[in-house]
């Protein structure tokens, strides 16, 4: 997974915010997944159609974190979500 990759949320995934967290329901598998506060914000930005670079920049700014750390965490999360079929590569 690279920052230049374009990803989209699977049409089979429904999302719901619970407090600061996000719960995902994958209709294809019937499984629930959870995202913490940072993951929740990443998901919201992906829902808005932002590129991974834009997501990284926004999250780094909003959570006052350094870009390399956020970029690594972002790519790890996107890879994980993609491996579970929750995100698709465009």
């Amino acid at each position: 997974m690279e920052l230049a990759d374009r990803v989209a949320i699977s049409a089979e995934v429904m999302a719901r915010q619970l407090g600061a967290e996000m719960v995902l329901l994958d209709l294809a598998s019937g499984m629930y997944f959870g995202l913490d506060e940072v993951g929740c914000r990443i998901w919201q930005l992906l829902e808005d159609g932002r590129s991974l670079a834009e997501v990284r920049d926004n999250v780094a700014q909003e959570f006052n974190a350094d870009l390399p750390t956020i970029e690594r965490d972002l790519l790890d999360l996107v890879l994980e979500l993609h491996s579970r079929g929750l995100l698709e590569l465009r």
């Binding site: 619970l18 967290e21 965490d73």
Partner: protein
């Protein structure tokens, strides 16, 4: 049918739906037949099958009513012909396959609990080739509906209370509910449009995905979509749960909108309806796009689901599923 009380089972015995099932069983059960009764409830279909000559009836029931059914079968002298199986029919294995499978395990719609799954499984695993499924087919309909009272009942507690607390966190859930409700024909704002036909002789999926267009026949205030089903049990035998028909045990379902919409004659609602079975429970998704007569732009667009109407807590989800926790820890 599960989740029913003794009064519900009593009402089913005298319901006109039982008359239709009795006629279908009379047509199809031959002396010496083996009959599988899925969701026997109080045992009325098993009794009828015995009366029409079945040599063996396998009666399946997952609820506690099974004990009443046992007593009723014994009281009518059929204990030697009826074998009870407690649990779901999808876990059942029969040494002798059935000549007739009979079931009424629907809710307000055929997409309820394990209903389509049980009939698909029965056809594949438990029915003799050339055997008969009762019901043969169900058809689901949708119409625009006025239902002000239902919305008020579920919304008001979250918006107004005499203690003057802010309870509005519950309002978003209330807006994503599919409700059983009582409805009369005068509340319908459009004709009923067929959304799906479930032909159990060939059905391969438990899920639903359909698109329908509903056109308002008169002006009014729409609160959502009314859903019901018609059934065919056999040639010329069936019944309708249309709001104009006598009340049946199932009720009708209201897919409510988050707010009421004033409609004029000719207004259209394009509805995408999905039902997805997850662990024996259906998740409903209904997206509605409303347009004025001849209008190009949508005047309202609602995206709703029962997933968004469920009370969920992260700690309970985490406790229930390892997958949930695994994904949580990645950020």
């Amino acid at each position: 049918m599960s989740g029913y009380g003794i009064d519900d089972y009593g009402a089913m015995i005298v319901s006109s739906r039982t008359d239709a099932y009795a006629e279908a069983l009379r047509i199809h059960v031959r002396p010496g037949d083996t009959v599988l009764d899925i969701g026997t409830g109080a045992g009325i279909f098993a009794l009828l099958a015995c009366r029409f000559g079945a040599a063996r009836v396998h009666a399946v029931e997952s609820a506690s009513i099974i004990q009443i059914a046992r007593e009723i079968i014994t009281a009518n002298g059929f204990a030697d012909r009826v074998t009870f199986h407690h649990g779901l029919s999808t876990a059942l294995q029969l040494a002798e396959k059935a000549d007739v499978v009979v079931a009424d395990i629907r809710g307000a719609l055929p997409f309820s609990d394990h209903a389509p799954e049980a009939l698909i499984h029965a056809r594949r695993e438990l029915l003799n080739p050339g055997g008969v499924l009762i019901p043969r087919a169900d058809e689901v309909f949708l119409a625009l509906v006025e239902a002000p009272e239902e919305g008020r009942k579920v919304d008001e507690p979250w918006h107004q209370n005499r203690f003057a607390f802010d309870m509005t966190a519950g309002a978003a859930l209330a807006a994503n509910r599919a409700l059983h409700f009582t409805v009369t024909p005068s509340q319908l704002l459009s004709d009923g449009v067929s959304a799906a036909v479930l032909d159990y002789r060939t059905l391969e999926t438990c899920d639903l995905s359909c698109d329908v267009e509903l056109v308002a026949r008169r002006a009014g205030v729409a609160h959502g979509l009314c859903a019901w089903f018609d059934t065919t049990l056999s040639d010329g035998v069936g019944y309708s749960n249309h709001p104009s028909q006598p009340e049946l045990p199932y009720g009708r379902l209201l897919f409510r909108w988050p707010r009421a919409i004033a409609v004029e004659e000719g207004m259209t609602a394009r509805v995408s309806l999905r039902a997805r079975q997850l662990q024996g429970q259906y998740i409903w998704i209904w997206n509605s796009e409303l347009r004025a007569p001849g209008g190009q732009d949508a005047i309202a667009h609602f995206r709703q689901s029962t997933f968004h109407g469920m009370a969920l807590a992260p700690e309970l989800l985490a406790a229930a599923g390892a997958e949930y926790a695994a994904a949580r820890e990645t950020t």
